[in-house]
Amino acid sequence: MKFQRYIQNHQNQITLASAILIAIGFAGKYLLSSTVVYDWAFILASIIAAVPIMIHAYQSLRVKVISIELLVSIAVVGAFIIGEYNESAIVTFLFLFGSYLEQRTLSKTRQSIKSLTQMAPETAVILHDDGTQEEVDIDDVDEGDHIMVKTGASVPVDGNIVSGSGYLDESVITGESKAVAKTAGDSVYSGSILGNGTLTVEATKVGEDTTFGKIIELVEDAQDAKSPAESFIDKFAQYYTPAVLVIAVLVYLFTRDFPTAITVLVLGCPGALVIGAPVSNVAGIGNGAKRGILLKGGAVMDDFAKVDTFVFDKTGTLTLGNTAVSAVKDYADDSKEALALVARAERLSNHPLGKAITDYATHEKVDFEQLDVAENDTVKGQGLTATIDGHHVLVGNLKMMNANSIALTDTQKADLTDVQHTGSSVVMVAVDGALKLILGVSDTIRPGIKAQLQALRDHGAKHLVMLTGDNKITAQYVAEQIGLDEVHAELLPEEKVDYIKKFKDQGRTVAFVGDGINDSPAIATAQIGIAMGSGTDVAIETSDVVLMQSSFEALVHAYALSKKTVINTKENIAIAIGVVVFLLIGLIVGFIYMASGMFVHEASILVVIFNAMRLISYGKMPTQAQQAATQKTSLT
């Protein structure tokens, strides 16, 4: 056992020694014309280089796996028996050298993931109740522990700040390198780096349960989540290697040609074929991970590359989702009172428009928090009703006003159309049976989105659709501004799902893009569900693609990257099959023998790895300049 371990740890030295011996052998032959030196150098080289290969072959056999090493071992022994020492030496050397290069290049393709996992903190400083500090291994931290984070250190847990404040760089979570100010009561994420200040954090999640831990696990799993093509190749390889052994035996039995039979063993190694597709995926997924784009594996890449229809949610996706009251039409005698009533009513809902209204009321210094609410009810697709401070309050859309027979004057009707045409969502407020307020709440269209949508089209998107619960006029306004093919408004969540189903039935491959918080049904229904700008648990679990950063650049990159990766995979499979065909012809025609066959074989493995490595550097990294450009351009 010790011997095996020693050999394995010194494989590189063995490779080098074998290279030197081969050089000595050639020198002996051509410089000294000594066949003795030549033969003995090659015999020695064959023996020392064959040892590690045979150890691997033996270990695999013990667990009933016929490995490539076994094929090579048999071939080498065969060559040795018939006195082809130079062939056996070169084959074993190339095999070892090839695996050395493979190891080096493979670790490059894995680098992006490695750099991610290395950011995971290893230790944490626990602050005990008696005020003492203790540095412990991250695995020994429990939920509820108080953790001390100092300037420059990374936060080791997910938790809430108990005391202290500081600027945190959360780029490992969001992909966005921007310092965020946080103070007591705010939550912090494992992996974020404290730029300045000192924090005491109460751990709520530790280790692999943290968001960062989940991201790492997801990316690790994703790299091994196989596309259908890969799974097929894997199955194929399982039978292929033993089959090569059988073929070699058959070749010998029928032709009695021993050299050809052992050449078959060397040529039969399925190297490039087995490694080609996975290495492309690893590189592609790694490229995404560096940019805060999580793609869940080879199958997702495959499907994403086929997407021709993108369906967008409006609020928070096409728009920034930071709504604000932008228009107020006032018909009340006491406008403060009306505003107070609607603000109090909106406190009861978690509707995004509601927050804009309560913010506005607070800003107008209207005191509404203390008002007494007797009853309240939400009417789906209309709004809400409540009895507040003795008044009957209706807050909602035109449908709600009509349903409650609230009449509108001609001026009010004109005002309503006005507000709607600015692209605002409209909130109408009736108190005790009469219309008191029309509020326009508008959202900001994402800056630069038109160009990004065009980029999606350039990469092959054919149909861009918006589905929204918002009113038709606002939806139409946004659609016109950014250029969409199809818009459906005033939809309930289940109606969005119906539309996606309809698109799928029409034979389209649909990607749904939402904020990942309240559109999980749509995300789950579409072939590719994309959660944008949210690393929440739900988003990570239900969607196929998670964009940590809320940016369309990331979306365009993810789409283009998937296409590139799929093409790259196909290239690699083509290269691998091409090589097999080439070797087969070479064997039949007779210009390929063991050593040259091994050379082509190892070279093809490196070619597919290098080809995949091109994916790592694909596309520009998001820069500070682009982030600075993400300024707010308001609708109104």
């Binding site: 056992m1 095996q4 371990r5 394995q8 150890i55 691997h56 270990q59 695999s60 667990v63 009933k64 796996v65 490995s67 490539i68 090493e69 695996s99 493979e102 190891q103 493979l106 670790s107 894995r110 993931i113 996992t117 695995d139 692999e208 690790e220 799993d221 790299q223 091994d224 894997d234 390889a237 399982q238 087995v274 490694i275 996975p278 690893v282």
Partner: protein, 81 residues
Amino acid sequence: MTTKRAVLQLDGLTCPSCMTKIESALAHQPGVEKVKVLFNASKAKADFDDSKVSAEELGQVVDKLGYEVKKIKVKDTVATK
């Protein structure tokens, strides 16, 4: 009986056949129910019955195959009857 999950962090795996080797070696251990080897992350995950085998023993199995085990983590999974 409780099922636990051992996560073995290995030194970089390079050949896809190493994966098959480790996978089947672990799967043949008594008490091991599910094995998954992550090739790119160089991790082996195994669900096992801790009354029949220990995580350390699983580590030794992989070690004997000639792959260095850098770290072993054991997690509780949902208890099964």
